[in-house]
Symmetry: C2
């Protein structure tokens, strides 16, 4: 089995979201983890999507994917309604989200079936679907991907811990948010929590903290990246998946597995996440140009610079004792 | 009036704290904003303390200050009990603090009276005392300090907003935590909230976010610094004042008012805050050596490094459109 590209495969959800935020409300905008992820990757690398939608899925949204070069032969269309999610973000703290309704609809029968187009992709992102589906996808891969990245969410942590652990044991990169990793590891201290996840398998654990940025843990290093200072958060939905898209897309594009490469991948993830929150739905992720992406990268670079104290130079004023 | 030193003056509280955290509980440990601040500054610059304690104040705690070179001629001892505070930190989230009891005692009559030892100090830190006392201290300064830094807390934001605004209008640096700045500015977005505070006067606004690090806003720049990854948080009390001590102490020691100097000051603040949380009371702030402080500075440096994309180099894989 030969690999003929550096493409990315994502298996996840494509949904219609109805969202209320302090800024406004929208109904039935295109959403879902695989949607945000693939549109974000499309700025960096080729990407194939495996998901399921219902007979209500609109042509304009198929066009959205094809316009961005997302390969959708694995987007199965079946009888019934598409996955629908509705949620509310607090006016007090836009990071606080309440799920109002989850109608799995056709997604409840989702059973990803990989074809030869998918099963040798070198970069695999398992979005937050049921852990047993994540395991099924891994089983179907004809060649072990160069990088398996996995996302999860509290819902699966609570109900499917042993399957989730098995999926994690086969992943290289785990994306979790602060609450998820604390809940999963039963450990309040994030550094210790990340160590517990690394002990299961992933050599890289990326802890997403919303407006507080990202911590990436690897065997011998911690990398801290700020969130891009967004002037107006319109809708946080999809920020995490857009982050993952920037991260995985950059690694796929560069094939740079060095620590320096992973750190830049985190920054590009932050950039893509910051774009996601600036519109309802994935509009900003879709419309962003490379100039804007590079500009935000450079702003994050400037935001984090400081000079070392200097070789052998001691702190001024410090009494040595 | 000539300035004969680069010393720091702090006006704030010296108290006995009783604290319960997930790690344990202690009673009547030395605390208060001026205590943590001055002990933290003592690693960098000379510092004088103006505060009030009761007749119960122990000689060993006077000795603690003098051992670290903190000048205490302004530590007034009066009849009655010292300020006592007791609080509880959540096991769920150690950043969540509940005040169980506040006995102001002699602190309720505190009226700072500056002598010639204090009133020409070039660096002034107004800890979180009543805004009218902060204003009284400013009025007593014979020479406008080179830098006035001011801390505040929700308690004064809620009850004394106009006096607080007046004090802020006379400050160069404002320290606020996330909750405080949101409450003060009625603005959820931290960047906009910081802009509102800068509009009142301070050219530098430092937003403390506990384990999520610090954001420093200046006219034309934002600086993001991570929290030092502490292995075990014992007691968060005093972290903010120890942070301020590292920040102001470093500026006083270097007299470096450049953006680069302020950024390093933030990092040293983070280091001192990280030491504060590793013990009940200020033990770790007191016992830290310069080697440990420099080591933590360097760890924060390594934690934040990433390489730019390069001059004129575009992102690999990005389609330009």
């Amino acid at each position: 089995m030969n690999r003929n590209d550096n493409g990315v495969l994502v298996v996840g959800s494509v949904a219609y979201d109805s969202v209320t935020t302090p800024v406004g409300a929208v109904s039935d905008v295109i959403g879902g983890s695989a949607t945000y992820f693939s549109l974000s990757v499309s700025h960096f690398a080729s990407v194939s999507l495996v998901a399921v939608v219902g007979s209500d899925f609109l042509q304009e949204h198929l066009d959205l994917f094809s316009d961005k070069g997302v390969e959708t032969s694995g987007l199965e269309k079946v009888e019934g309604d598409s996955f629908r999610w509705s949620g509310l973000y607090s006016t007090e703290d836009v990071n606080e989200r309440t799920t109002l309704n989850t109608d799995l609809n056709v997604f409840s029968e989702f059973s990803p079936d990989l074809t030869d187009i998918h099963n040798s992709k070198p970069y695999l992102f398992l979005a937050n679907i049921q852990p047993h589906l994540q395991l099924s996808v891994l089983d179907q891969m004809k060649v072990r991907p160069r990088m398996v990245a996995l996302d999860t969410m509290n819902f699966w942590i609570e109900g499917n811990i042993s399957e989730l652990k098995e999926a994690l044991s086969k992943a290289d990169v785990a994306f979790m948010d602060e609450h998820e990793i604390r809940s999963f590891s039963a450990e309040v201290n994030i550094t210790r929590a990340a160590q517990k996840v690394m002990d299961i398998g992933p050599s890289t654990v990326v802890v997403k903290r919303g407006e507080h940025g990202v911590l990436m843990f690897q065997r011998d290093s911690i990398f801290s990246a700020p969130a891009f200072p967004v002037k107006k958060v319109v809708d946080p939905t999809g920020a995490g998946d857009s982050f993952a898209g920037g991260f995985v897309g950059y690694i796929a594009a560069t094939q740079d597995f060095s620590q320096a490469g992973f750190r830049r991948a985190v920054i590009l993830g932050s950039v893509m996440g910051s774009l996601a929150v600036e519109s309802f739905g994935p509009d900003r992720v879709v419309s962003a140009g490379s100039t804007n992406i590079e500009k935000r990268f450079n702003i994050l670079y400037e935001m984090t610079r400081f000079e070392p104290l200097g070789d052998g130079q001691s702190l001024p004023g410090i009494s040595h004792f």
